[in-house]
């Protein structure tokens, strides 16, 4: 039996070695390791699993490399709307939020729902209203903007304006792994 441990993910998809530069590869690995270290430190010092998962997730939310927090993708309206959830295995208490736009680390809002409300899931304006009463770090919505993600939205918007043939669709998918997911937007 392992005394303590943690695992993390930073997203899945059409991620191929040939599409990554050595610099990008190294950048992702370094940030993943930083997130692991943040969670590991909590556990090593006798901290709770709940605190460890929040510490690890916050590192990734603060990085523009991942689709969460800073670097989140854009909605059709050109906004960043973020969602988060957390669950504690010891009592199966849980909290989730959807559609936040101003809380720097959405995972802390999910935890606040779990610990400071009688509810499990809040969404949209109400979730934000609740989060703003929880002494969580707030930011201007522009904090979440990244040029890369905005260009992704622009690309998809552009394709919706024109009728595409099969080859151009394929071309878009090869250029941008997220394009493949357009129907889910």
């Amino acid at each position: 039996q392992v005394d303590f441990a943690l695992a993390i993910h930073g997203g899945a998809g059409t991620i191929k070695k040939e599409n990554m530069t050595a610099e990008q590869d190294a950048e992702y690995r370094a940030k993943l390791e930083e997130a692991l270290d943040a969670g590991y430190k909590v556990l090593e010092n006798g901290g709770e699993a709940l605190d460890a998962v929040v510490a690890a997730v916050k590192v990734m939310e603060d990085s523009p490399l991942f689709n969460a927090g800073k670097g989140a993708v854009f909605t059709n309206e050109g906004k960043n709307e973020m969602d988060a959830a957390i669950m504690n295995g010891s009592d199966r208490n849980a909290g989730a939020v959807a559609g936040l736009t101003r809380i720097k680390n959405p995972i802390t809002a999910a935890r606040a729902v779990m610990e400071n409300s009688p509810h499990v899931f809040m969404s949209g304006a109400g979730a934000e209203q609740f989060a703003l009463t929880q002494d969580l770090e707030q930011v201007d919505p522009s904090y979440f903007y990244t040029d890369f993600r905005f260009q992704q939205l622009e690309q998809i918007r552009e394709t919706e304006k024109t009728e595409l043939d099969h080859s151009s669709l394929l071309e878009m998918e090869l250029k941008d792994p997220f394009f493949k997911d357009r129907k889910f937007g």
Binding site: A12, R29, D37, V54, M82, F184
Partner: protein, 136 residues
């Protein structure tokens, strides 16, 4: 989508997930929210799970709870249950993505059916392991 699962020294486990959803989402669609039971789940008796991928498929498969149920009622190990759900059930309905998971003994499983998944783990007194591609 980012996420973490952990087991602490007291034997408690937890899961957390955070996401921006999908580019170009509209109509108040919440298909990528890490719904409790689907994208995020934790129960000390079985496992903690955080998921990433096409959220609506993960909701339809109730991924986190399904893995826990296969362990609880089917006697499967964490790895067996994760493979059953991610590599079979999700694939059958066209869902792409993966999960990270941990059980009460600190076993870790990270199955995914996509080309790659940014992922990593670290166990007590061991070095961190970070992986991106399928063949790692």
């Amino acid at each position: 989508t980012v996420g973490a699962v952990a087991k602490d020294k007291n034997g408690n486990i937890a899961a957390a997930t955070s996401t921006g959803g999908m580019t170009n989402k509209r109509f108040g669609r919440v298909g990528d929210v890490p719904i409790i039971g689907a994208g995020t789940y934790a129960d000390n008796a079985t496992c903690a799970v955080s998921a990433t991928g096409h959220g609506e498929y993960f909701i339809r498969t109730v991924v986190g709870h399904e893995i826990a149920s296969l362990m609880r009622y089917g006697g499967k190990t964490l790895a067996e249950a994760g493979d059953e759900v991610v590599m079979k059930q999700l694939v059958e309905i066209g869902g792409s993505g993966g999960i990270i998971s941990i059980d009460k003994n600190g076993n870790i499983a990270m199955p995914f059916n996509s080309e790659g998944m940014y992922r990593g783990y670290r166990k007590a007194n061991e070095a961190a392991k970070v992986m991106i591609y399928k063949d790692e």
